[in-house]
Amino acid sequence: TMLGVITTDAVVDSDVWRKMVQVAVSRSFNQITVDGDTSTNDTVIALASGLSGASRISNLNGPEASQLQSCLDAVMQGLAKSIAWDGEGATCLIEVSVKGTSDEAEAAKVARSVASSSLVKAAVYGRDPNWGRIACAAGYATVPFNLSKLQISLGDILLMDGGQPLPFDRAAASSYLQRAGEEHGTVEIRISVGDGPGEGKAWGCDLSYDYVKINAEYTT
């Protein structure tokens, strides 16, 4: 289960605030995954006191609204990433960035499909630069794209381009994963599926033996 409480002193109308919060949730908490199980209790409550004395935000389109939206996105993304970073048994955070789809929602869907894949997560834990599993998880995200446009990088190491697998330094790629695991850092998977304007991210973590151990013992 994830729970969140967000507070601000911005001055904002109710209907605007409720829409902003849902947008920020779709760009943050709804884009994380540890084990694919959607809890019975997931909740984010967001409260605005209005005590900053700033100008009132009464519609979504003004500059103040987009300033507040970007602050809300940033705080929720920071918290969402810390949940994925702290996934049960995790040794590293996995950040999946996708671009080239027709819109933000499609890119988010492909990114979350890759971040959710147990095979991708297990490969990261095994420090295996398994680009095939990443391509497979992108392929079953139910977002159509032209395979000949598929590009996959692990950090700065290009593994696939134009839908073709590339020769790459396997040892370097594996030590990139190894280092991230040792530092409890971030593994970046970057995917491009075309030339569209859509971009999105998702966050997850690697799948370790400890995940099973923790959940075999933590009874429901």
Partner: protein, 219 residues
């Protein structure tokens, strides 16, 4: 003096029960500040041990309150087996555009607990409302923990006076609340930023928990 000192020490101890998570905020026209949910004006928080957890004495009861009627919003699981606090909050947000407090317990999820579990939420919300001299619908509730178990209501109700008495707008208040909402988390998750809206400085802060059963689809 010794009792006040003891409580202050307890706040610091509660806040440091588990280390802070590294929070990776994207770049933007803001700077990160300390304080979590208490950074923004008008907010107080507390986190204490209320005897709800199955084992250990890590804080397990949190409260976030606002000095004024705060504009409220919420996003909730779309899991059909929604927990009692989720059903309660959705109804409260439909009835009122504002709220004054969020009460959070760890230990029991109060999910799949039927009508009795829903009554437990109502009783906790109305008891806290009475203590804070607010209306029940201004109190929102979140729970996390073992599914199928009702909350340890007696312990929770008995801990409310101490929880309310611990409310503070300090960083320790925010951090102790961030600890109290955790379950299998290894770190507490709390962050705040300061930025400008128009010409005025505003603050946005937050806390979160989560480590397992994580694939949110909230709406």
């Amino acid at each position: 003096m010794s009792s006040v000192a003891t409580d202050a020490v307890k706040d610091v101890l509660a806040a440091n029960y588990i280390p802070a998570a590294p929070i990776l905020i994207p770049e933007g026209p803001w700077q990160q500040i300390s304080g979590g949910v208490t950074a923004a004006k008008g907010f107080k928080a507390a986190g204490i041990y209320g005897g709800l957890r199955a084992q250990g004495e890590k804080p397990d009861l949190a409260l976030v309150s606002c000095d004024v009627d705060a504009i409220s919003a919420g996003a909730f699981t779309t899991n059909v087996v929604a927990a009692a606090p989720v059903v309660y909050c959705k109804q409260a947000l439909e009835k009122s555009k504002t709220a004054r407090a969020v009460l959070i317990n760890a230990g029991q999820a109060n999910a799949a607990t039927g009508d009795a579990g829903f009554q437990d939420v109502i009783e906790c919300a109305s008891s806290l409302a009475e203590m804070l001299q607010l209306r029940q619908k201004e109190i929102l509730i979140e729970s996390t923990g073992v599914i199928g178990h009702r909350i340890k209501k007696k312990a929770l109700l008995e801990a409310l006076p101490k929880l309310v008495g611990s409310l503070s707008s300090t960083i320790e208040g925010a951090d102790s609340a961030a600890v109290a909402i955790t379950t299998t988390d290894l770190v507490r998750k709390s962050v705040a930023i300061e930025s400008k809206v128009g010409e005025t400085c505003i603050r946005v802060g937050g806390m979160a928990k989560g480590s397992g059963m994580i694939h949110p689809n909230m709406a």
